[in-house]
Each structure stands twice: as structure tokens, then as C-alpha cells.
């Protein structure tokens, strides 16, 4: 007799359906697990036997052979335990083999037979749903997360005994204490409101432009100028995630072992890795199980690199591929994992090691040599991909006095403005594959339809002639100019918008 059921093996965010077959042969008791399991999965045989005995539905004293196919696909983790256990029980005739054949099983077994929640349930259930399965069985501790996937029936069970009962096993139900995840309060991504910042107006305008167009930002300025505060407020300016993005952000959280809660994440995430982060920590890595890094967790949100020149050059340059393609691919000898990488990059840096270069109120003490070297740590190709390069100044006492008198922009108002500007861009780009101004290639902006009049771009053309900006820089200024026009609710950018866009790119040339 053969028991057959299904489980999901995750590689990146993509899940592959794995068939679990269990065969019972008349031989001395033994448990053989074949089909390329890793160590954690290989230990499943001991967990399954103990869990089955302790939950009162013991396995027969015969040889049980469990095969996981496709055999060539590497499988890892403890999420296969439940599938292996029910397949073995079905092989021994304790539960209905027909019943388990239609269900995908996900869950780790404890020795007492209770089911433990596992990481990555959301992408796994999503994969099962896409593969055409109608029912999935998960541990009660993962029930909230699994039920976020539309169009699939979720059976949450607290123990192997309850799973066996659901599949027609003749046992008396026995109430057990459900194993839940230790609930960690999700750190609030949006710290503080825009209105409690005292800053020069154009720094806030620069963030508005970044939010509206999805442009990457580089903030340059002395310590205490408010770079970190500005960056931390950017996610608050972004509109709510659309359902597709919300599912993806929640899936990444689930995969990274972060709490998902009972609803999809609707706010854009903020990830601010420390500058000692390695390339693997930023983009993700791992030998057998490939885990998402900070950049993947920041997809559809903001990746903030404070003190950017202090990052290892290799770590920063690992971001070039996702910046270009929006996808993070991690290659290993036996597999390739893909994660979404559509984050908005915000980098902050001091202009020199002492931080005072160019500040109005203090003197820089760095030798010219070390000053030059400091920003040269950011590679040219990386900076080239950043649309807005903006210099933030410390506020003056006059600005501090004025701040109390003027009503300042709140995050809620700013978000409304940004959402309206994004709607405008979306309507204009409806016929194209792009959704945000920052995604639009320069050739399209310089094309027949959207080309700006010569008098509008004259300032920009002069900068190009003088060698102040490159051709790539020219395109980036055009994109920002379109975003500025969207924010101002204008049909097309005019000279002022192009001038402002040029200003938002000049931090490095000062």
C-alpha cells in the first residue's frame, strides 16, 4: 500500500510542489527517507516516528520507505514533517489515502505530536494555490498567515492526531495547547511625522519628488542636518501597497521569519541595514537555503543606507543588478533563487570624514586627499543610477524661528499629494510597461510624443554642452522634471521644472 501526498519546497519566493510517497514493506522496522533531503529534513524520520507514537496513532512495526520527488530537487527544512507523517499513516491504512492525495501539507512536528509553525508558509500556500490545489493543511500557529491567500481552503490543525482525524482516522479528539510563534511586535516603519521636522523647505520638496516618482535619492550633508530623519519619513510619503505588492511584501516577511500577522502588510517597508552589512546580508545568500537580504525585504519600500561610503564596496556594488532589473538573483551551483528587488534606494553620506566640508558654520579639518577619497568609495556606476542627489544643510537659527510661525506639511497631506502625482503619471504611462517616472527610459522621454520644446530644455542643453552632466544624467534630469510637473499638476514640465530637476542633481558637483 502506498500513501501519497504533497508538500512545497521553496526556492526564493517560488515554490515547487513535492510529491511525498510512503511505502510499507514487510521487513524489520525501519524508516528510510530518500529524495535529496538536507540534514533538518533527514531528521524528520525520527520526529515523525516519535510524534506518531506520542499522539496515539503509532506507525506499524514494519519498514517505511518515504520518497520525495522530484528526487533531483534539493529540499530543505522541517516543513515536510506533516506530509511525511500523513503519507506513512495512509500507507499503514490508519487514515484515508484518498483524502490525503488532494491536500498539500505544511508543518513541522514536535516529539509530542503537536505541530509547530514554520517560516515561509505564505509563499508556500501561494505556490500550492498556483499549482491548482484546492486545500492546504497547516499548523494552527500559521493559520492567519495561510488564510491571506485567496481561493484556497486552509485547514489549520494543532496536532498530528487532529490531522489524522480530519483525514478519516478513527481517534478520539484530544485537546492540546496550540504552539504559536513568539509574537514580536513589528517595529513601526514610519517614525515620526513630516510636520515635526524643522528643515529647509527644499529638502522636504526633494523627498516629495522622490516619493512621487520613485526616484532613488542620495543625501549629502554635514552631521546634524537631518538626513536620517528625512530618509525615515520617506516610507510614510509613499501610497499604500497594491494587493499584488502587499502579498509579495508579506511573503518576503514570512520567508525571512518575521511576523506576518492576520492581515497583509499594506504599508511600504523600510530597511536600514548597518554599514557593516555584508553583500550576503544586503542582497541575500546562503548555501543550501537561500534567504532574502535587506534589499529583498525592502522591495516595494525603501532601502536606506546611512553613512553609505562606510559600506564595503562589494556590498554596495551587489545592489547594481537589482537597481537595474528590479529582481535579485542569487546563483548557486545547484539552483538559482529570485527575489523581488524593486526597492527605492536612499543613501546618506557626509561630504568628508569629519563631515564639515561645505558647511556654512564650521571648518573642515580633513586633508584634501582624504576628502577626495571618501566619496570616491561610492562607485560611479552606482551613483549614476541615482536620480536625485541632494545637498542637505544644517538649519539656521532664522529657520528655527520661522518654523514655529508657518504651518508645516504633515505626512498625511504629503502622501495625498504624492498619490495624486502618481495617478497622473500612471494615466500618462497607461499604454507603456512602466508605472513610475523613475522606470521610464530616457529614449522614451526624448521621443516624438514627449519631447520638450527647445526653450524649456535650454538650461539643460547648456549643462550638457559644458560637460556639467552626462547624457545619462540628462535623461535622469528629464525624469525628475516630469515628476515635478506631475506634482504641480501640470500637463508638461516647463523651464522651472527642468531647472529644479537640475538643481536636485547637483549635490556632487559642488
Amino acid at each position: 500500500m502506498i500513501g501519497r501526498t504533497y508538500a512545497v519546497s521553496l526556492l526564493g519566493l517560488e515554490g515547487a510542489i513535492v510529491e511525498i510517497e510512503a511505502d510499507l514493506s514487510n521487513n524489520l522496522p525501519g524508516f528510510v527517507l530518500i529524495g535529496l533531503p538536507d540534514t533538518a529534513l533527514g531528521e524528520a524520520k525520527d520526529r515523525v516516528r516519535a510524534a506518531a507514537t506520542n499522539s496515539g496513532c503509532g506507525l506499524p512495526n514494519r519498514k517505511i520507505t518515504v520518497n520525495l520527488s522530484p528526487a533531483a530537487l534539493p529540499k530543505h527544512g522541517s516543513g515536510f514533517d506533516l506530509g511525511i507523517a500523513v503519507a506513512a499513516l495512509a500507507a499503514s491504512g490508519t487514515i484515508s489515502a484518498e483524502s490525503i492525495d488532494r491536500v498539500v501539507h505544511i508543518g513541522e512536528l514536535g516529539l509530542d505530536g503537536r505541530l509547530r509553525p514554520v517560516n515561509g508558509v505564505l509563499p508556500a500556500v501561494l505556490a500550492a494555490s498556483r499549482a491548482g490545489f484546492g486545500t492546504v493543511m497547516v499548523p494552527s500557529g500559521n493559520a492567519d498567515e495561510a488564510s491571506l491567500v485567496p481561493g484556497i481552503r486552509v485547514i489549520a490543525v494543532p496536532s498530528l492526531r487532529d490531522a489524522a482525524i480530519w483525514h478519516g482516522g478513527e481517534f478520539e479528539p484530544e485537546p492540546v495547547e496550540i504552539i504559536t510563534r513568539p509574537s514580536v511586535e513589528a517595529p513601526t516603519a514610519e517614525s515620526g511625522d513630516l510636520s515635526d521636522m524643522i528643515s529647509s523647505g527644499d529638502a522636504i520638496d526633494a523627498m516629495l519628488v522622490a516619493a512621487a516618482g520613485g526616484h532613488h535619492v542620495f543625501l549629502l550633508g554635514p552631521p546634524g542636518a537631518g538626513k536620517t530623519m528625512l530618509a525615515a519619513r520617506l516610507p510614510g510619503l509613499l501610497p499604500d501597497l497594491d494587493p499584488h505588492a502587499a502579498l509579495e511584501v508579506s511573503s518576503i516577511r514570512s520567508l525571512a521569519g518575521l511576523p506576518v500577522g492576520s492581515g497583509l502588510t499594506t504599508r511600504p517597508p523600510l530597511e536600514a541595514p548597518h554599514h557593516t552589512a555584508t553583500a550576503a546580508a544586503l542582497v541575500g545568500g546562503g548555501s543550501t537555503q537561500i534567504r532574502p537580504g535587506a534589499a529583498a525585504r525592502a522591495s516595494d519600500g525603501v532601502l536606506f543606507l546611512d553613512e553609505a561610503p562606510e559600506f564595503a564596496p562589494a556590498a554596495l556594488d551587489a545592489l547594481r543588478q537589482p537597481l537595474e532589473t528590479g529582481i535579485i538573483s542569487i546563483h548557486r551551483a545547484n539552483s538559482v533563487a529570485h527575489f523581488p528587488g524593486r526597492f527605492q534606494l536612499v543613501m546618506a553620506a557626509n561630504p568628508c570624514p569629519c563631515g564639515q566640508w561645505g558647511a556654512r558654520d564650521s571648518e573642515c579639518t580633513c586633508p584634501p586627499n582624504s576628502r577626495r577619497r571618501y566619496l570616491a568609495r561610492l562607485s560611479g556606476p552606482l551613483l549614476d543610477r541615482i536620480d536625485i542627489q541632494f545637498r542637505v544643510e544644517r538649519i539656521t537659527s532664522a529657520q528655527l524661528r520661522l518654523a514655529g510661525e508657518r504651518p508645516s506639511l504633515t505626512t498625511a497631506d504629503a502622501r495625498a499629494t504624492v498619490t495624486a502625482a502618481r495617478q497622473r503619471a500612471l494615466a500618462r504611462l497607461a499604454a507603456t510597461p512602466w508605472r513610475l517616472n523613475s522606470h521610464v527610459p530616457g529614449s522614451y522621454l526624448r521621443g516624438r510624443e514627449l519631447r520638450l520644446a527647445p526653450q524649456v530644455t535650454s538650461g539643460l542643453d547648456r549643462a550638457l554642452e559644458r560637460g556639467g552632466i552626462t547624457m545619462r544624467g540628462y535623461d535622469r534630469v528629464l525624469r525628475v522634471a516630469w515628476t515635478l510637473a506631475d506634482l504641480a499638476d501640470d500637463e508638461r514640465p516647463d523651464e522651472t521644472h527642468v531647472g529644479q530637476a537640475l538643481y536636485l542633481r547637483k549635490a556632487m558637483s559642488q
Partner: protein, 118 residues
């Protein structure tokens, strides 16, 4: 005779009865050599069957079959070879079986027979 040996001897005779009941002819009981001991040697049509009998009074400390390890099976194979050497011309084919006997203090005796365990 110690209690455990008594239980073992009882289990072995129960197993022998089970085999003869199934039409097997017992060739040897408790055959010994320098490698160890064979519990039962029987003939099943043209096969010589070497049977390891395990007896327990309960399954509280595990099922009898669980104590037949791969080392034990390897030893049975060596013993089978030694027996065949001493009894030339007995048979061309051999097989190794295991019989579990559970003899509870009260209630009925359970006998399980596994064929071709290696």
C-alpha cells in the same frame, strides 16, 4: 533457569509450533557454533529457513522486531553460512525470517512472522 531464559524458551517453542502449523518441517533447534546460535532452522518446500525468534512479555520497552538490528541480521547471515557448511546438500536456496512472540502475563499470545528480512 532465569525468568528471561524461560520466557525465551517458551517463545521459541511457540514459534516452532507456529511454523509446523504452517507446514514447515523443523530441521534444527538452538544450533550453536563459534559465531553464535540459530534459534530455529526449518524447511519450507525447497527453501531452508533460518528463523530468529524474539520474545517479550509486553511492548513497553519496544516491539520485539525493533531489537533485531542490522548487526544482528548480518550475524544471522554468517550463522546460516556456517550451518550450510556443516549440512552439505541440504538446499540451494536459503532465507532468513524473524518471528516476534508477545507473551503477556494475562491475555492471548501474539505471534508475528516476517519473511525475508534481509
Amino acid at each position: 533457569m532465569a525468568a528471561k531464559d524461560e520466557l525465551g524458551a517458551r517463545g521459541e517453542s511457540l514459534a516452532a509450533d507456529h511454523l509446523t502449523g504452517n507446514g514447515l518441517e523443523i530441521l534444527d533447534r538452538n544450533w550453536r557454533c563459534s559465531h553464535g546460535e540459530l534459534d530455529i532452522v526449518a524447511r519450507d518446500r525447497d527453501e531452508v529457513v533460518f528463523v530468529e525468534v524474539k520474545t517479550r512479555s509486553s511492548v513497553l520497552f519496544g516491539h520485539p522486531f525493533e531489537s533485531i538490528t542490522s548487526t544482528k541480521v548480518a550475524r544471522l547471515r554468517r550463522l546460516a553460512a556456517a550451518w550450510c557448511e556443516e549440512h552439505p546438500g541440504s538446499s540451494a536456496t536459503i532465507r532468513i525470517d524473524a518471528i516476534a512472540v508477545i507473551v503477556p502475563t494475562r491475555g492471548t499470545v501474539e505471534i508475528e512472522h516476517l519473511k525475508r528480512v534481509s
